[in-house]
Symmetry: C2
Subunit: 299 residues, 2 copies
DNA sequence: TACCATGCATAAGGCCATTTAATGCATAAG
DNA sequence: CTTATGCATTAAATGGCCTTATGCATGGTA
């Protein structure tokens, strides 16, 4: 077993490296953005530690001693390696954006638009992972999250993206099958998708339609808007959905929203990330992009 | 031209290296001889600089992030290189002792005894260089000097080795050739080596012998005691020499010192080295050795 | 389930390493 | 001989870093 010799102060080594490279205290000071006196001091510190002079002080010029000559190349190399590793790490840190979100948002909103972000930031690799729970940024390697909630997470910055509004939606054909949906109560004559969803009760209450025993009605509980939206588009029933997630279907007529009445249960979808990383370039880039997208789509 | 990205604080990098190696803030703190809080602080500093977390904080355990994984090996390697270079430089600095002295001292005193120093310090390589002038330690790569003078050099430590006493010496045969040298004036009947040397005038004055026109007497001016000593041993004349330099010749009878009268001109031989290097191991070793030798030989 | 041990985060405060500014000194250049 | 360059040195100011103390979350244990 051998005891490791403690390294001399790294500041001194860094200064030495610069001096050795320039062959001048003054020039090294300039490169390091410090004063010649500080350089002189640090070299003295290092010489004390090494136990021998590192430079010969000739008038208007210094020269490495043998000891200095042996030390300098290795030190320079070590610093180059450090610098390279740091730059690489920093680059890598900025080159991949990991997004954690929930399946609904990913498939109904993000998937369609993410391409424009990647085109705008070709050097950024995006890794999209869908997870059921809000990620813990201190434990998982995730840059940003998109989650529903109230926007009050401690330590996190949260930007409201879209409200979790909901309203019934169905295919035009299904509506026509009963001669059109004129008033809320008409919906009860059609199969409801996932009738046990509390959103139904809430919406019918807001519409002043008595609707008991909803949960006992037949209907599959699929639990994710994406699936229910597909089912509704296929004409299998009426779904209660968030319009913002089905802007495309509404625009091209695959789905219709028979009533303007929107409900919401106080939740919204939020973009979240740690406060401490507010200024990370890739996070800023994504924030700027997604808020822009929201602005566009809500017009 | 590319602008070099300034490295993050090296303290933080060093701490990171230890943490990455141990996989623990606490253990790294122990290795570094500091507190866990300091480690936590430095890691945070570095994470700010890199722009991304380097560790995932799992309960009772941390793990490197991808960025951290990319950074860690290179950093460890760089520090190993630094450490190795430092140890090597330090070893080299302590492994060679450069002595600058004058020819007389080297040949008449040092050469005979240096062997015992090298035996006592087999790992120390000794480089002996003879130069006419007192070396400037800040300009020449020299560890210690041996010079004559008054011992009052600013910035240097000076140990008095031997006094530059002088007294006439000659071979026993030469003395016998005139029936023995009984009193100082007898010397004037023999050839003097380098009669122009001011030492002769000084010594005869001290001996109360009138001796004018010494410099006009024939005789070679060799200027170095070593040569004059040899000439005297060979019986070519009387030399005025420093007894300490000819202890061996006096001991075995090759030379005799006819009179006890010693003169000196206020000079002495000194061991000198920079004050700042007083504690350098190799300098201490040499100082201890040579002062010991002086003690022995002056007994 | 309650309690204890482990490990990292955070806040406040102090200290010392480092820096700066000013000056001196030696030498080379003009 | 004068000027310019470059390093050394000093004292004083600064702030980065460390320490102490405490909190928080988790995992192990009775």
């Amino acid at each position: 077993m051998h005891k490791t010799l403690p390294l001399p102060p790294l500041t001194a080594i860094r200064v030495f490296e610069a001096v050795a490279r320039h062959g001048s205290f003054t020039k090294a000071a300039t490169e390091l953005g410090t004063t010649q006196a500080a350089v002189s001091y640090q070299i003295k510190v290092l010489e004390d530690r090494v136990g021998a002079p590192l430079f010969l002080r000739r008038p208007r010029q210094i020269a490495l001693t043998e000891v200095g000559q042996r030390l300098a190349p290795a030190v320079t190399q070590a610093f180059e390696q450090l610098s390279e590793a740091y730059v690489t790490a920093r680059g890598g840190a900025q080159g991949t954006l990991v997004i954690s979100t929930i399946a609904t948002f990913a498939s109904n909103w993000l998937a369609r638009r993410l391409g424009s972000f990647q085109i705008a930031h070709p050097s950024l690799a995006v890794r999209l992972q869908t997870e059921p729970h809000l990620v813990d940024f201190s434990r998982e390697e995730v840059d940003i999250g998109i989650r529903s909630g109230r926007g009050d997470w401690p330590g996190l910055v949260a930007h409201r993206l879209i409200n979790a509004d909901f309203t019934p939606m169905l295919s035009p054909n299904l509506a026509a099958s009963i001669g059109g949906v004129k008033e809320p109560a008409d919906l009860l004559r059609l199969p409801l998708l996932d009738p046990g969803d509390p959103w139904w009760a809430k919406w019918f209450a807001a519409a002043n339609v008595p609707a008991e025993g909803l949960s006992s009605r037949p209907g599959a509980s699929m639990g994710a808007q994406a699936y229910e939206g597909n089912a509704a588009t296929a004409g299998q029933g009426v779904a209660i959905l968030t319009p913002a997630f089905f802007a495309a279907e509404l625009a091209d007529g695959r789905l219709v929203q028979p009533f303007d009445l929107l409900c919401n249960d106080d939740h919204a979808y939020w973009l979240v990330y740690p406060e401490t990383r507010r200024n990370s370039p890739k996070i800023s880039a994504f924030r700027q992009w997604i808020l822009g997208e929201i602005g566009v789509s809500s017009r």
